[in-house]
């Protein structure tokens, strides 16, 4: 039991379990999945489908945070990628042609890789703190996205493009497969090759890992580019799901939700160890929370209050001094003298 509690997935999974249990009690048909017109429908499918962009962004964010960095610009990159692909398709003669859609997707992904490269260069080339370096793109990025869309909301009528975010494959939403592919790629690259070890060592101590022969700069650069790419794919999913691009509101607050998912998943903001599965569970918790709040019938805006307490609780549980304070209270003896002794001994 104790070993189980020590496992890094214990707390995230129990929170997720508690949320699902609450839903089950609240509305017993929460878990029912229906087959309609060759596609599965149900709350669980919805959570996976709507949570897909967040999971993607959070996977990229996990690796960035593992290198002791942070990427605040992902929300803007989501908007930029969506804007770019929608603009390209809307300019084409036949919005449904495969070549055009593929070209637009490719262009958007290249652009998001470039944003990652920019962040990475600022962080390891100029040696600027990650939080500051990515702040630049966070501020300017939304302006760039609006520049691309010319301040308008571009709407498309392209079934091929819509398939990415709203289509279905083998009775499941296509976006789930996209997430699964990215997650598998990230997990394989970091757990089956030395890359994961490099990332963790750079996050723990960049100078020491450089001296040990790890090319810290290259690792950091690649990680930021990967994070940009993930955000770009998330932007494609989001914009194709609604067949439109809104430079102002697409991906708003995604950076915060993604960081939250990573932290809930057990990855420390101090870098080093990272848990991709934990992040996955963390993102699912956030999405389940939103779905729960919708289904209970509270105004969705109030989600923010719940989220605030979740963030705080998770951070306090992770905080060493908070745990010590609680533990001390737990073990405190009745006599002040004994308390005094205990304090000096420990």
């Amino acid at each position: 039991m104790n070993r189980m509690m020590k496992h890094h997935l214990f707390w995230p999974l129990s929170v997720l379990g508690a949320l699902l249990l609450f839903n089950l009690v609240y509305s017993p048909d929460f878990f029912s999945i229906k087959m309609q017109g060759g596609q599965l429908y149900g709350n669980l499918i919805d959570i996976l489908n709507f949570g897909a962009p967040l999971i993607l962004v959070a996977i990229g964010m996990t690796l960035v945070i593992a290198t002791k960095g942070i990427d605040l610009s992902v929300g803007s990159v989501v908007a930029i990628a969506g804007a770019m692909s929608c603009l390209t398709i809307s300019k084409g003669a036949d919005q449904n042609s495969l070549g055009l859609v593929l070209g637009a997707v490719g262009l958007a992904l290249v652009l998001s890789l470039a944003t990652g490269l920019w962040n990475g260069l600022l962080v390891c080339g100029f040696g600027i703190q990650p939080i500051i370096a990515t702040l630049i793109l966070m501020v300017a990025g939304r302006g760039i996205a609006q520049l691309i869309t010319d301040g308008q909301i571009i709407t498309l009528s392209s079934d091929r493009y819509k398939f990415i975010g709203a289509g279905s494959l083998a009775a499941l939403p296509f976006s789930i497969f996209v997430v699964a592919a990215v997650f598998a790629a990230a997990a394989l690259l970091t757990r089956r090759t030395a890359l994961g070890l490099f990332i963790e060592s750079v996050g723990t101590n960049p100078e020491a890992s450089r001296l040990a022969g790890v090319r810290s700069n290259v690792v950091v650069l690649v990680v930021y580019m990967f994070c940009g790419l993930c955000a770009g794919i998330a932007g494609l999913l989001l914009s194709s799901n609604v067949s439109s691009a809104d430079g102002n509101n697409a991906g708003l607050w995604y950076e915060l939700d993604a960081i939250l998912a990573v932290v809930i998943g057990g990855t420390s903001l101090n870098g080093g160890r990272f848990y991709l599965t934990g992040t996955l569970v963390g993102a699912l918790i956030i999405q389940t929370l939103s779905t729960t709040i919708y289904s209970v019938g509270i105004a969705p805006e109030i989600t923010l209050v719940v989220k605030a307490f979740v963030v705080l609780a998770v951070c306090l549980i992770q905080s060493e001094s908070f745990r010590q304070a609680i533990a001390q209270r737990w073990r405190t003896r009745r006599y002040p003298g004994e308390k005094e002794v205990a304090r000096h001994v420990s």
């Binding site: 942070i70 100029f126 040696g127 600027i128 703190q129 939080i131 500051i132 370096a133 702040l135 630049i136 793109l137 966070m138 501020v139 300017a140 990025g141 939304r142 302006g143 760039i144 609006q146 520049l147 010319d150 301040g151 960049p206 100078e207 430079g247 915060l256 960081i259 939250l260 932290v263 903001l269 105004a299 805006e301 109030i302 989600t303 923010l304 209050v305 719940v306 989220k307 605030a308 307490f309 963030v311 705080l312 951070c315 306090l316 992770q318 905080s319 060493e320 001094s321 908070f322 304070a325």
Partner: protein
């Protein structure tokens, strides 16, 4: 003395402001008037107040993301109390200011006692404050209390036909008070010391905990005061007010020459940082053909320039390279 390297970023900021004003004056007729300058202040009074609080936080080595939401919450609380509960404004304003201080204190206490990163704690504060707005009401609450409207409409005429609003006066007082606190009080010096090195501050016997929490109290106070100003400016309470103000404030502070790593920075710089932010908006509105998003891009570019400049300056000071 005046060419000291530590004044370099602030001189760049001032020069940039002068340059932009000159550019505007040559390019557009009617730009070079006292009223245009005053309008800068009138439209950005709340940002100025928030940025002063933010400067303290950033100089101490922290960050406060909750300020924008705190403004919204203050407008919401004021509007709700005045309009729906009939509480007199003289009670409401001190109450919301006190609430701002308490909110800042709570965040500071969590940051200090439990050693959680300021970024995360104030992020939670941001969510909480924004969410509480919607708990009060989902829509807009318009304020038509005579005390609020008369303050909002009041114009302080100056010779030459130009005028200022009450908000500007409050903001300027805050700036002066900020300069005084930062440079002529113990608290101010402790903040600089804390931003320079927390370890050394502790070893010198300075009150680290009190200073750290105090900084967030100052920021909480400033953001709720900015909320009061914002209430005068908008005459309404709404949960979507002042979205993204935290970013604008951080940007203004950085453009003002404050180092985001802490320990270096001036309130005067922040003042000019906010003015530059305002001038960019004014220039874009005078140009007419440019759209509002160019403001964000311009701010981003300026942020980049200043961060690289600071990096270059601090790299020369310490030759240790990562």
């Amino acid at each position: 003395m005046f060419l000291n390297r530590k004044y370099f970023p602030i001189l760049v900021t001032m020069a940039l402001f002068a340059l932009m004003m000159a550019m505007g004056a040559f390019r557009y007729t009617g730009f070079f008037s006292l009223q245009v300058l005053f309008n800068l202040l009138i439209d950005n009074a709340f940002l100025l107040v928030v940025a002063v609080g933010m400067t303290f936080v950033i100089v101490s080595g922290g960050i406060d993301l909750s300020v924008g939401s705190m403004i919204a919450l203050t407008t919401m609380m004021s509007a709700s109390l005045v309009q729906q509960h009939g509480v007199p404004p003289l009670v409401v304003i001190p109450l919301v200011l006190l609430f701002g201080c308490a909110f800042g204190w709570a965040m500071g206490a969590i940051i200090h006692y439990f050693k959680v990163q300021p970024f995360i704690v104030t992020l939670a504060g941001m969510f909480l404050a924004r969410g509480l707005c919607y708990v009060i009401s989902l829509g807009t609450i318009t304020i038509d209390h005579p005390a609020y409207t008369s303050i909002a409409m009041a114009k302080i005429s100056l010779p030459g036909g130009s005028f200022l609003s009450v908000n500007v006066v409050i903001a300027l007082v805050v700036v002066l008070a900020g300069i005084f606190v930062a440079h002529y009080t113990r608290f101010g010096r402790n903040v600089y010391a804390l931003g320079g090195s927390e370890q050394s501050t502790l070893l010198m016997g300075l009150p680290v905990g009190r200073t750290k929490i105090g900084v967030y109290v100052v920021s909480g106070f400033c953001s709720s005061l900015a909320g009061v100003i914002y209430t005068f400016y908008m005459l309404s309470g709404y949960g979507l007010h002042a979205i993204g103000t935290e970013l604008d404030a951080i940007a203004a502070v950085v453009i003002g020459g404050t180092l985001l790593t802490g320990g270096v920075g001036y309130i005067t710089g922040t003042f000019f940082g906010v003015l530059i932010y305002g001038v960019i908006q004014t220039l874009i509105s005078f140009e007419g053909t440019l759209s509002s998003w160019w403001t964000r891009i311009a701010i981003g570019v300026l942020l980049f320039v200043f961060i690289v400049l600071q990096r270059a300056l601090s790299a020369r000071r310490s030759t240790v390279k990562l």
